[in-house]
Symmetry: C2
DNA sequence: ATCGGGTTGTAAACGCCGTTAACTCTCCGT
DNA sequence: ACGGAGAGTTAACGGCGTTTACAACCCGAT
């Protein structure tokens, strides 16, 4: 099953170089400039050769998105370890600031990953034989999951403020509960042992609300869509973090 | 100066029909499908003829964006009047819910207008002769201005909660102050008389913060980018509005 | 009545693009 | 030595934005 590693090495190298060049074009000139012919030109080959590696331009772009997500996750994780295990609030801040810094430094990648209409899942083709198996959502690394899986690691292992108990809207509880299970499962898989009933529903709800604010601020700043010219949005961002800190401290 | 109106009428009709078709393509198949040749085909002309009306595809798209903004503003204003002049909180709610409803009903238009990297203003080419005149920012109708100009009308004329006094970050005060002046100017122009020192800096700051949340929620919902599958985001949205109401009631 | 210019359209072309099909060539296992 | 798989090529199709040159038309001025 793994006897092909030798012959396959140049192949994955080429695959990586294609994505590297695709990403360079994305960063420097935006999504529309990521063109099969431009990539091929830079690699010294012709465009149809790329079809040996990717099904289509859209397929290639999706792989690039995955790469970007991995990089972002790595960067946020690095920020997190740099701040030290014990400093919980500092960890949350580091992830938030890291996300903003990354988005501002990589606006095209942010736009591609976080601000493109995501195709809704294709309605789960019904299985004629009732084979509704486990259907574990595959990683789907994307999205705020990057952020929240890191943030939840911090929040869950530090017995947080318990910001609210059951004032979370009833219709959201099922979704939140499912998401909590996913988070717990992810954390356990990473070898993190959890306190007894860590991650209350209220905590997950709190994280979701804060993700809305974090994403809103970053997207508005990247897109330059504040309702007026903000000469420096950092104080606004920092005041949001301060407010977060206040809410957490009021355990 | 206006003697050409008669002869120009067919021209603006054609201009409108072009944008109408462009918008149909945008709504039905997304931005990339808005193609000069497709538009021309539908109008029974050839693509180069469109250059008699718009400088380029990019120029046409910008005009479409302006149209979309006008429609959105009109829709929100209609929502606002439907709720009645006296019901302040209802007015704010109506605008917020209207914005969400519009965004969910017009995802492609929302993406184009609210989630595309806006070209930063070109650094204000320096005038050699120090002719730094008034430089009143032209309407630039776009963005949250649509929302905020409506919301501020409500907030300013109803002597709001005074949600905070001078706890707004120092570095934001200049920007906020300038924006407040713009808002006041706009409102006065609309014939709305303002209380003495309406629209405190804290009120504008509050509106800005809430715009971040409103935009964040709507964008996440349109893009399907919540960190987990949310079967119905409306309760989350409504809880945000409830929180807003609480903050306002605590005058 | 005719001229001339502005307005609105056309056809042809250029150089891009994604994608497909048919083909070479090279390597490697049998 | 053969044959197939892998990786690349060339040629082509249709579509795209855009430019250029040219035709038709309206309309006011001579």
């Amino acid at each position: 099953m793994t006897e092909a590693t030798r012959r396959d090495r140049p192949r994955v190298d080429t695959e990586r170089e294609i994505r590297r060049e695709a990403r360079r074009l994305l960063v420097e000139q935006g999504r529309e400039a990521v063109t099969l012919r431009a990539i091929a030109r830079h690699l010294g080959i012709t465009a149809p050769a790329l079809y040996r590696y990717y099904d289509s331009r859209e397929d290639l772009l999706q792989r690039v998105i995955d790469d970007v997500c991995l990089d972002l996750a790595a960067e946020l994780t690095a920020d997190l370890v740099a701040v030290g295990e014990e400093d919980m609030l500092g960890g949350v801040f580091a992830v938030c600031r890291g996300f903003r810094r990354w988005a501002l430094a990589h606006p095209q990648e942010f736009t591609l990953v976080f601000a493109s209409p995501a195709e809704q899942e294709p309605e789960a083709a019904p299985c004629a034989f009732g084979g509704a198996g486990k259907l574990v959502q595959p990683a789907k690394d994307q999205f705020g999951r990057i952020f929240l899986s890191v943030a939840s690691k911090v929040l869950a292992t530090h017995q947080l403020p318990a910001p609210s108990d059951e004032e979370v809207p009833e219709q959201l509880r099922a979704d939140l509960s499912g998401f909590r299970d996913t988070l717990v499962h992810t954390l356990v898989q990473q070898g993190i042992e959890l306190p007894d009933q860590a991650l209350s529903l209220g905590t997950v709800y709190f994280m979701l609300q804060f993700w809305v604010r974090l994403y809103g601020h970053v997207a508005l700043e990247v897109f330059g869509r504040f309702p007026f010219a903000v000469s420096n949005a950092e104080p606004l961002f920092e005041s949001m973090l301060t407010e977060l800190a206040g809410a957490i401290q009021a355990a």
